[in-house]
C-alpha cells in the first residue's frame, strides 16, 4: 500500500482523536482568567474534588485488595472449584456500572451516597485488578520462587521478595485502570446521587446550559486524569517489565490452605453474591413484573437505534484506525509512534468530557454534524479509537512482511498477495476488533446522552431515562439485553489473558 495514503489517513485519525482536548483548551482559554477563577475557586469545586478523588482512592484500594487476594487464591492455592471462581471473578466486567447501580437502587430503598457508590464501583471494577494479576501469577516462572526457597527464604518472605515484585507492574496497571475508571464514571454515581465531577458537569450542562461552568469542571477533571497518569508513570520504576528467561516454564505447586480453603471459598462466594447475585436477582425480579405493550415498542425502537448508531460508530472508528494501525505496524518510526500516542491520549478522557466538548464543537464549528448521528459516531470514534487500533496492530502482526515477501518471490503480484495472504490472515483480528468496538458503543452512556440527536433513544439512554423516573420494571429489559451484550467482550478480554485456558489456574 502506498505510504502517502497511509500517512494521510493516520494524520486524520490522530487529528480526530485530539478534537475534544484541543477544543476544550480553546474554549476555556476564550473564557478568560477572571471567569475561570470565578468558576474554579469555589467551595463547590473543592468539595467535588475531594469527593471524586476520595471515591477513586477508596475504590482503588478496595479493588487492589480484593483483586490480588482473589487472583492469589485461584492461581496459587488448593482452593476448591478454582476455575469456577476464576470465571466468577471476571464476570462483573460484563455488568456496566450504571446497570449495577440501577439493580441496587431498584431493590433497596435509600441506597445512595458515597459509600453506596464505592460498593457498586468496587464490585464492578475489581476484575480490572484481578485479570492482569491472575495472568501475571499464572505466567510467573516458578523457578525464581524455587531459587529463593533454596537460598533459605521461607514461603512468606519469598512471596514478598520474589512473587510480589513480579506481579507489581500488573497490580499498578490494574489500579490505574480502576482509578481512571472511577474518575470517569458517570452512570453509577448519578443513579446513586453522589456528586462527583462527572455528575456536576452533566447537571451544569443539562439544567442551566452553563457552558463555562461545565467546561471549567471538565478541564479540572482532565487535569486530575493527566495527574494520575503522570503520577503512575513517574512511580513506575525502570525495567519493571520482566521478561521470562528461557522457554520452558513450570507453574508453582499450589499452597495447601487446609481447612482455611473453605473459609476462602465462602469469602469469594460472598463477593460474587454482591457483585453478581444482587444484579441477577434484582433484574430477574423486575423482568418477571412484566412489561406493557407500549414499553415493548419503545424497547424495540431503542434496540434498533442502538444497533445502527453503534454500527456507524464502529465503522467510523475502524476507518480511522486502519491507516494508523497499518502505519504503526508496517512503518515503525518516530512519526508513527507520536501519532499512536496522541490517539491514546483521548482514551483516558472521561466520556462525559468528550461528549461535552463535541457538543460545543458541533454547535460552533461543525454545525452540519450537530444533532446528527455522525457527531455521536465521531464521539465513539474518539473514545474507542485505541481499542480498534490495538486490534488492527495485532492483526497486522498476524501477517508479517516475511510472508508477503515469500509470496512475491513465488511470482504473485501485489493484489494477489493481498487476496491470498494478507487479508485471510488479518481479517479475523480486524473483525474481532470491530465487534469489540461495536459492543462497547452499545453500552456507552454519557457521550451518547449528550450527543444523540434529540428524540433518539438507545438501550442505554432508555434505561437511564426510565431509572431517573423510577420506572424500574420498564427499564429491566434494556438492562438485561445490555448485560447479555456486554458479556461477549468480557469473555474476549478474559480469555485473551490466558487465565481461562485449559492449562490455566484450574
Amino acid at each position: 500500500m502506498p505510504r502517502p495514503i497511509l500517512l494521510c489517513g493516520a494524520l486524520i485519525a490522530a487529528a480526530v482523536a485530539l478534537i475534544p482536548l484541543v477544543y476544550l483548551g480553546v474554549r476555556v482559554a476564550e473564557a478568560g482568567g477572571e471567569r475561570i477563577a470565578e468558576e474554579l475557586f469555589t467551595e463547590r469545586v473543592a468539595v467535588l474534588a475531594v469527593r471524586s478523588l476520595g471515591l477513586a482512592a477508596v475504590v482503588t484500594a478496595a479493588c487492589v485488595l480484593l483483586g490480588v487476594a482473589t487472583a492469589f487464591l485461584v492461581t496459587r492455592t488448593d482452593l476448591p472449584a478454582r476455575r469456577a471462581f476464576t470465571v466468577l471473578a471476571a464476570l462483573p466486567l460484563a455488568v456496566p456500572t450504571y446497570i449495577a447501580a440501577f439493580t441496587w437502587v431498584s431493590s433497596m430503598r435509600e441506597f445512595e451516597g458515597f459509600w453506596a457508590a464505592a460498593l457498586v464501583l468496587t464490585a464492578c471494577s475489581y476484575p480490572y485488578v484481578f485479570l492482569p494479576v491472575a495472568a501475571a501469577l499464572t505466567g510467573a516462572d516458578a523457578a525464581a520462587e524455587e531459587v529463593s526457597r533454596s537460598l533459605g527464604r521461607g514461603p512468606w518472605r519469598t512471596f514478598r521478595a520474589v512473587t510480589l515484585r513480579q506481579i507489581r507492574p500488573a497490580v499498578a496497571g490494574g489500579a490505574l485502570l480502576v482509578a481512571l475508571y472511577v474518575l470517569s464514571d458517570f452512570g453509577a454515581v448519578s443513579i446513586l446521587r453522589t456528586d462527583t465531577f462527572t455528575r456536576a458537569i452533566f447537571v451544569a450542562f443539562n439544567m442551566g446550559f452553563d457552558r463555562t461552568g461545565a467546561l471549567v469542571l471538565s478541564s479540572v477533571l482532565v487535569v486530575l486524569t493527566v495527574l494520575l497518569l503522570t503520577g503512575e508513570s513517574a512511580t513506575r520504576r525502570r525495567h519493571e517489565r520482566y521478561a521470562p528467561l528461557g522457554g520452558a516454564r513450570r507453574r508453582a505447586n499450589p499452597i495447601g490452605l487446609g481447612p482455611w480453603r473453605w473459609v476462602a471459598a465462602t469469602g469469594l462466594l460472598g463477593v460474587a453474591a454482591v457483585a453478581l447475585g444482587v444484579p441477577a436477582v434484582s433484574l430477574t425480579g423486575r423482568l418477571l413484573e412484566g412489561t406493557s405493550r407500549p414499553e415493548w415498542i419503545d424497547l424495540v425502537t431503542a434496540a434498533g437505534n442502538s444497533l445502527w448508531l453503534s454500527a456507524a460508530g464502529a465503522a467510523l472508528t475502524l476507518a480511522l484506525a486502519l491507516p494508523l494501525g497499518l502505519l504503526v505496524a508496517r512503518a515503525p518510526g518516530r512519526l508513527s509512534a507520536v501519532l499512536e500516542r496522541l490517539s491514546y491520549l483521548a482514551h483516558a478522557l472521561p466520556g462525559i468530557v468528550v461528549g461535552l466538548s463535541l457538543v460545543f464543537f458541533g454547535i460552533n464549528v461543525a454545525f452540519a454534524l450537530y444533532q446528527t448521528a455522525w457527531l455521536l459516531a465521531l464521539g465513539y470514534a474518539v473514545l474507542f479509537l485505541p481499542l480498534a487500533l490495538t486490534a488492527v496492530i495485532g492483526a497486522a502482526a498476524q501477517s508479517p512482511p516475511a510472508l508477503e515477501q515469500v509470496a512475491a518471490s513465488l511470482g504473485r503480484g501485489r493484489l494477489s498477495v493481498l487476496r491470498t495472504v494478507t487479508l485471510p490472515l488479518t481479517l479475523p483480528g480486524i473483525g474481532a476488533g470491530a465487534a469489540l468496538v461495536f459492543l462497547t458503543c452499545m453500552k456507552e452512556l454519557p457521550a451518547t446522552l449528550l450527543l444523540r440527536p434529540t428524540g433518539v433513544d438507545t438501550l442505554a439512554t432508555e434505561l437511564w431515562t426510565k431509572t431517573t423516573v423510577a420506572a424500574y420494571a420498564a427499564a429491566a429489559p434494556s438492562a438485561a439485553l445490555l448485560v447479555a451484550l456486554s458479556a461477549i467482550p468480557t469473555w474476549l478480554i478474559a480469555s485473551r489473558t490466558g487465565i481461562l485456558d485449559k492449562n490455566g489456574p484450574a
Binding site: V406, A408, L410
Partner: protein, 347 residues
C-alpha cells in the same frame, strides 16, 4: 541452466555501507554458499537479489536477463527468484499442499508437482496437514518444497537451518542438498555456519565487511584461504610469526616447507591442526599437553611448546592423553604464509 551473475553490487543504509562492491557468480545447477559473520552484508545481498531492496549501484543478471542495474529494477514477483526464509514463514492459514502449490499455476498443481516435491523433501503424504501440526524441521522442509515447486531459475536459502537443533540440522542439510540436486535447481545459500557452507556447497564465497574476500570450492577454501582472518573463520587455525627464505620458513614449529617458494622475509605462518602429528622422529619438537577438547571422532589438543608458544593439534578420538603429558610434535606437508606479522584470531 540459469546462471546468476552479480557485479559490483553496492548498497548503503544511511552511513553504513552494507555492500561495498560485491561480485558473485552462481553457475546453473550449482549450490553456492555465501559465508560470513553476522553483519557482513550477506542478508542484504540476498534481499537485493530477491528484489526486496534496491541496489545503489552494480548489476544482477539471471540467465542473461537484467534483474537490477542502472535504471532497471524488476519487481520481486517477476524475478523468478524463490526464497526460503530463516524461520520458514509458512502461510499459517494454508495446508502443507496449499503452501507448496502457492507458486504453481492450476495446470501444474493438477499435474502432481505438489506430491512430487513433497516426496523430494521426504514429506510424502503430509499434504493435508496444517503448518502448526508439523515439527520445526518438517516446516523447514515444506518451505524448501514450496520454493522448489515452481522450478524457479534461482532459489535463495536464508540461513534456513539456523533455528533447528544441531542433530536435526545435519540430517536436513543432507536431504535438502539431495533434493536440490535431484531437481537440478540453482541455489544460493546464506549462512554464518562454516560447517554448513563447507558440507553443502559446490562453491563458497566468504564475505566480510560488505565484500567477497574469497570464492572457491570448499576444499580449496579450507586448504588455501587468502588471509589469516579467512583461515581462522573457516576452521581451526594455528597462526604463528615466522621468517621465510628460499622456500622454507623459520617459526616456533621449526623450519617448514612453504607452498609459495617466492615468499621472503617476515610473515604469518598458517598450519591446520590436523597437519600437526605426534611422532618420535628426531626432528620433532618436545611439547606438553595443556588442555584438550574431546569430540568423539577426534580431539583437539592444546600444546605448550618448550619456548612458551601455544599451538593446537588434531588427533583421533582414541588417542588418549592427559594434561601434563610430554609428547613430540612435527608438521606434515607444506604450509601457507602471508607477508606481514601474525594477526590475532577473528573477534
Amino acid at each position: 541452466m540459469s546462471t546468476l551473475v552479480v557485479a559490483q553490487a553496492r548498497k548503503r543504509f544511511g552511513k553504513v555501507a552494507a555492500l561495498g562492491g560485491v561480485d558473485l557468480d552462481v553457475p546453473g545447477g550449482s549450490l553456492v554458499a555465501v559465508l560470513g559473520p553476522s553483519g557482513c552484508g550477506k542478508t542484504t545481498l540476498l534481499r537485493c537479489i530477491a528484489g526486496f531492496e534496491r541496489l545503489d549501484a552494480g548489476t544482477v543478471d539471471l540467465a542473461g536477463r537484467r534483474l537490477a542495474g542502472p535504471g532497471a529494477h524488476v519487481a520481486a514477483h517477476r524475478r523468478g527468484v524463490a526464497i526460503v526464509p530463516q524461520e520458514g514463514a509458512l502461510f499459517p492459514h494454508l495446508s502443507v499442499a496449499a503452501n507448496v502449490g502457492y507458486g504453481l499455476g492450476r495446470a501444474e498443481r493438477a499435474a502432481g508437482r505438489i506430491g512430487e516435491v513433497l516426496e523430494l523433501v521426504g514429506l510424502a503424504g503430509l499434504g493435508s496437514r496444517m503448518p502448526h501440526e508439523l515439527s520445526g524441521g518438517q516446516q523447514q522442509r515444506v518451505a524448501v518444497a514450496r520454493a522448489l515447486a515452481p522450478r524457479p531459475p534461482l532459489l535463495l536459502l536464508d540461513e534456513p537451518f539456523s533455528a533447528l537443533d544441531a542433530g536435526l540440522r545435519v540430517g536436513l542439510r543432507g536431504d535438502v542438498r539431495r533434493a536440490l540436486r535431484e531437481d537440478g535447481a540453482t541455489a544460493l545459500l546464506v549462512t554464518h555456519d562454516q560447517s554448513e557452507a563447507l558440507s553443502m556447497a559446490d562453491q563458497v564465497a566468504v564475505m566480510r565487511d560488505g565484500v567477497v574476500v574469497q570464492a572457491a570450492t570448499p576444499a580449496e577454501l579450507y586448504r588455501r584461504p587468502v588471509d589469516a582472518w579467512t583461515a581462522a573463520f573457516v576452521g581451526e587455525a594455528v597462526l604463528l610469526p615466522g621468517t621465510a627464505a628460499q622456500g622454507r620458513v623459520e617459526c616456533a614449529l621449526g623450519a617448514l616447507a612453504v607452498e609459495d617458494a617466492a615468499a621472503e622475509g617476515e610473515c604469518t605462518v598458517f598450519v591446520r591442526p590436523e597437519q600437526l602429528v605426534f611422532t618420535d622422529d628426531d626432528a620433532a619438537l618436545p611439547c606438553t599437553v595443556a588442555a584438550q577438547e574431546f569430540h568423539g571422532h577426534d580431539r583437539l589438543i592444546t600444546l605448550h611448546l618448550d619456548d612458551a608458544v601455544t599451538v593446537t593439534a588434531r588427533a583421533p578420538g582414541a588417542f588418549a592423553v592427559k594434561s601434563g603429558d610430554r609428547l613430540k610434535v612435527a608438521v606434515r606437508g607444506s604450509v601457507r604464509v602471508w607477508p606481514g606479522p601474525a594477526v590475532p584470531a577473528i573477534s
